[in-house]
Subunit: 246 residues, 2 copies
Amino acid sequence: MKRIKLVVAYDGTNYHGWQLQPGAATIEQMLNEALTGLLGEPIAVIGASRTDAGVHALGNVAVFDTRHRMPGEKIRFALNHRLPADIRVQSSCQVPDDWHPRKHPCIKTYEYRILNREVELPQERLYAAFCRFPVDVERMRQGAAFLVGEHDFKSFCNVRTQAETTVRHIYDIQVERDGKGIITIRIRGNGFLYNMVRIIAGTLLKTGMGQMEPEGVRRALEARDRQAAGPTAPAMGLTLAGIEYT
Amino acid sequence: MKRIKLVVAYDGTNYHGWQLQPGAATIEQMLNEALTGLLGEPIAVIGASRTDAGVHALGNVAVFDTRHRMPGEKIRFALNHRLPADIRVQSSCQVPDDWHPRKHPCIKTYEYRILNREVELPQERLYAAFCRFPVDVERMRQGAAFLVGEHDFKSFCNVRTQAETTVRHIYDIQVERDGKGIITIRIRGNGFLYNMVRIIAGTLLKTGMGQMEPEGVRRALEARDRQAAGPTAPAMGLTLAGIEYT
């Protein structure tokens, strides 16, 4: 028996998120089915991040155990032949038998993309939220600065969050606009609460649009009340860019 | 009666190209149906570029005539409400009654995108051709340089081309690689033959992969024979970026 780690990229558009759900296609289900077919034994992966419906990933992480003799690094290639084109395993390798993707310290990087121009672009409709109103990126950066560091992010998580603690550490938030009108919010942290990145994105966008002062982000944080923060930005703008285990 | 010019962006993935075809969804058909519904009279657009199935556009151009009183620049907004999300009119305006999108001198800009890395990325599968082998962008530039200028591009068009002359003028070809492994070939010219940009892309990619010398592009041009050039690169990598009328 050996444990294999996968780094998985996917376009979340056609899936009901990562986690297994009866009667709905999910990333976890696709991986389990492809691996079970490939290795000839029932496989159940354990994922690092259970992303929501419509959320994308460049580098989510999953592990599974197998008795198959195929070398860990060969699994990627064979597995991609069995997966639909909207899921692609980027790498596979053997890890220690007790290695668990949710029980080791890590830094997760998320990207939230907003298309900010007068008219929508069809090519971005599945990968960016759309905002036709003027957005001041510098105001977004000023608001974002209040979120960096270790804080109680109770205001920035879905009220259904079951986490024991709502304290998290954000190492860095960058906000950039490119020449095509895409604003990218890039957030690195040691873990994120349910909907946390989407609520941060919705709050910073509100700040950038002038509907909230940058200082309001600090006040929202201090309030420890979901109502004090901005709206939850839509799922399709969000990508789990990567997970570094430290 | 007045003539309206539209600048149209679309994701070509789900369409059988621009041109009307019985029993198949096309961009032209979607525009005609939406405009006929909006303006209450039968509308038939005339397009500048009849792009192939799977090809995308950021700025294709179309015109139509209408008796409706709606101001030209208001049509865009109302029309987008009636179009599917993968087609978005970027602008609309009135033009002189005899203005025709294929009968005025123009510069067309096409972009061809190639994802060049070890593993496919799901988010690029509909917008870039994929090449897992090493590609030397400098060799592509050297090959491209032979194509700039006025030449007979008979080797670089589909044998079914019905054009009277195969002489065209390419003003500029740029080849760039970004940090994510996307190679973009950007071509500006006064007109392009059937499949011309895709054959240029296929030939430059072959050059970049070392399967053809940069000098081979010049020899292919001189041969005036489709067999002398490289393969036709796949449709989904191609985007009609824009048309400037001069």
